[in-house]
Symmetry: C2
Subunit: 458 residues, 2 copies
């Protein structure tokens, strides 16, 4: 058997850093949502790029699948071993290699988490703002083109990865990009590997763009009678050019879930949570203009969180939404899905999604990064209720179809993985075949994260 041959060789290469125990395999066969367990045959813990290259070379020779594992926080089954094989856990490659303060860049290994990076940057006056909520690894965030609450201001991983070191399917090591802020020296390979979900190569080093820690930060939460008013406020904020660092929508169901989980007393109504970054002066000005707008739109219960502690509580609550939603319905698992539409179609997309969820009978709080037109539904499905799971999947599919009909995309940030592969042809038509051709050119044997994102072409 192909895998057995690879494992024997890898064992002699890695010793105890090739784990074959049931516990290790099970841990790397899990995910945070509804996908059934798909454990690998073994878990490798590489320590250097050269070791990753050697592992991939061995696996290539034996046609053994190779799956990358960061923190396991992705939501579409990206890191599951769909066809078995070896999972590479990047825990031991978690160093902050270099801070180039003058160039506002950091060089990191893929297993470093975003929180650890920001801890390492604290004294420099710089930060890495991309914030998907979970304390994901930077390698995983690049591989899935993560974004989150701050993308409205700082962009996504696409905009903040400047250069990569990548191990190809044949074991060769390449570098893409450079330390320069821009380049027109050929195809944008950095951009190609960002978001490729481990199907084109394994990221072993990243050069990231850093940003200055803002001199002043101001955050607020405010309630609206109707969700339409909240969404219209977002659109008006964008059109007035008020520079938001974050602008999050949560619906009334989410507000109730927050109250139950955090002991808060938010009105059970739709809310916006916002944050401004800048100088004392500009933040004050932005907050004032935004406040005026909210008043005009009939928003109420406006509460500013100017202290750091209060702000931390606010965003911790927001980031804890998924856990709080699961806790609100014991025995349930979450099918978390996201879409992204042009801002002008956001109200329509939210309205139709709300109605669709309400009609389904499945609890489904809605919340999202509305400054980008991106929102999520957390569909709560009782474990062992296959009918409810089918209903939730159908809801998610209709959300994706709705996003496409409105000129958007079936996923703004969660990615394709296993969960949305069957929607790719619908979104991309022949462009999905272009992706398959690229996959075939870079991984002809199909050993890199098989079963995800593309169909294999023979």
């Amino acid at each position: 058997m192909a895998v057995a041959g690879a494992l024997a060789e890898l064992e002699s290469l890695l010793g105890s850093r090739l784990a074959r125990s049931a516990a290790d395999r099970a841990l790397h066969g899990q995910n945070e949502t509804w996908f059934p367990a798909l454990p690998p045959d073994a878990v490798a813990y590489p320590e250097t790029t050269e070791e990753v290259a050697r592992i991939v070379t061995v696996c290539a020779r034996h046609h053994c699948p190779v799956v990358a594992w960061g923190a396991g926080t992705s939501l579409e089954g990206h890191a599951l071993a769909a066809e078995g094989g070896v999972t590479l856990d990047f825990t031991r490659m978690d160093r902050l290699l270099d801070i180039r303060a003058g160039d506002m860049q950091a060089v990191v290994q893929p297993g470093l988490t975003r929180e650890a990076l920001n801890t390492g940057l604290r004294a420099t006056g710089l930060m890495f703002p991309i914030d998907p909520g979970a304390n994901a690894t930077l390698g995983g965030m690049a591989a899935t083109r993560a974004s989150g609450t701050t993308a409205v201001r700082y962009g996504t991983m696409r905009d903040n990865v400047m250069a990569l070191q990548v191990v190809l399917a044949d074991g060769r090591v390449i570098r893409t990009g450079s330390g320069a802020r821009k380049s027109s020296a050929g195809y944008d390979l950095t951009g190609l590997f960002v978001g490729s979900e481990g199907t084109l190569g394994l990221i072993t080093e990243l050069t990231l763009r850093l940003h200055g820690q803002p001199e002043a930060i101001s955050a607020a939460v405010c309630a609206f009678e109707r969700f339409e008013a909240a969404v219209e406020t977002v659109i008006a904020t964008i059109q007035l050019g008020i520079p938001m660092a974050r602008i999050e929508f949560v619906d009334e169901t989410t507000a109730a879930i927050f109250n139950a989980a955090n002991g808060t007393a938010l009105p059970v109504r739709p809310h916006l949570m916002v944050e401004f970054h800048g100088s004392e002066q500009s933040v004050g000005e932005d907050a004032r203009r935004f406040g005026d707008l909210v008043a005009e739109m009939g928003g109420a219960a406006f509460a500013w969180a100017s202290g750091a502690e209060e702000r931390t509580r606010l965003w911790k609550m927001r980031h804890g939404a998924y856990g709080a939603a699961l806790a609100s319905r014991p025995g349930a698992m979450g099918l978390v899905t996201d879409i992204c539409v042009p801002i002008s179609r956001l109200a329509e997309a939210v309205r139709e999604t709300r109605a669709d969820i309400a009609a389904s009978g499945i609890p489904g709080p809605i919340l999202g990064h509305v400054g980008d037109g991106n929102f999520h539904a957390i569909l709560l499905v009782d474990r062992g209720d296959p009918e409810a799971l089918r209903t939730a999947k159908a809801l998610a599919r209709r959300m994706a179809e709705r996003a496409l009909a409105l000129g958007g995309t079936m996923t703004g940030e969660h990615g394709v993985g296993m969960g949305k592969k069957d929607l790719m042809a619908m979104e991309h038509a022949d462009a999905w075949d272009v992706m398959a051709r690229i996959k075939g050119a870079l991984d002809p044997e199909g050993i890199l994260n098989p079963g995800k994102l593309v169909e294999r072409r023979q």
Copy 2:
């Protein structure tokens, strides 16, 4: 002969819109720099995407090269017919198809120029800020990943192209991206086609990101005794987070050329030209902080251009640098080359380049978009002096080597084309082979802009 067969079919398809006259061919075999003429066998003037697809299908069947032509303003011979064939001139596909003001997007055909787009946007309060100097077509700007003076604030074409329609080498038409501000639905094909220089497909429609016209604009030019002080001012401006919309360096040679061409009386010293965009208040604040910094760095002769006319004159002078440089030495042609380095290495890169040019005896004004670490040398070579051309090429090569040694890239914005193909292996090593594999997967017959950017793999 392969081309003859294609031309016969295309003539019956396009009638008089397939031009075979010597004049038409010569016009499309020219370039703005030093490359010898390379005319195509014929020039096609398509009017629709479907027509482009039909042309490519015919050419594919006959293995006839296909070259895209926008405004012909590229600087590395991108649009020359290196192996003959058919050049597609997009002049007749120059419509502004849609302005989506609410989403701050415009949909355009590839032959529309950036100035025509901004004229069309004037009444909307929106603008497309990417400004490579020349009035290039938006299709060409996307294909070469253009940037220019405003990239320091607004990014490059990579950051401002949201979606594309592309005709592939087999005549299929695909769409990449969407109207959503972000997506994680698979490989970033938009980013792959942007900067691919017509070697992977022909762009037939673009969805562009627009920006609000700034409420206030302020521009200034100031002289420095030493170029190092100018460069240090740029670095300090970035590190203080003063948001520049433009920050341009010109050396003393360029200042003298400006004076001769424009009747100005700039001190013959290094200069910075800057511009700030924002509210009246923020622009005033930015200008004040920048002014303080310049004073600290010993800058002098600080002149603000607050009126629109004065500003237009300033940037027209800047954009006219190449023409003015050519005019300064009758009978000369320009070998214009650019590199881009991390900001922290910029002073070093400029210093060494100045010394190298001075030692060569070739006139070579230096100027550039220093906020990105990107600068140009205009090497003036007398026509009919092959020795001078060899010297200039060697200088350009050493500039590229210097950029790589400093952690940068051999071209920040001019691209690869024919001029820098022989440097690609040096910058990318095995990653250039990855580009060739992608090229092979999408254009197996090698009909799309052959001889540019990649080596053909057989």
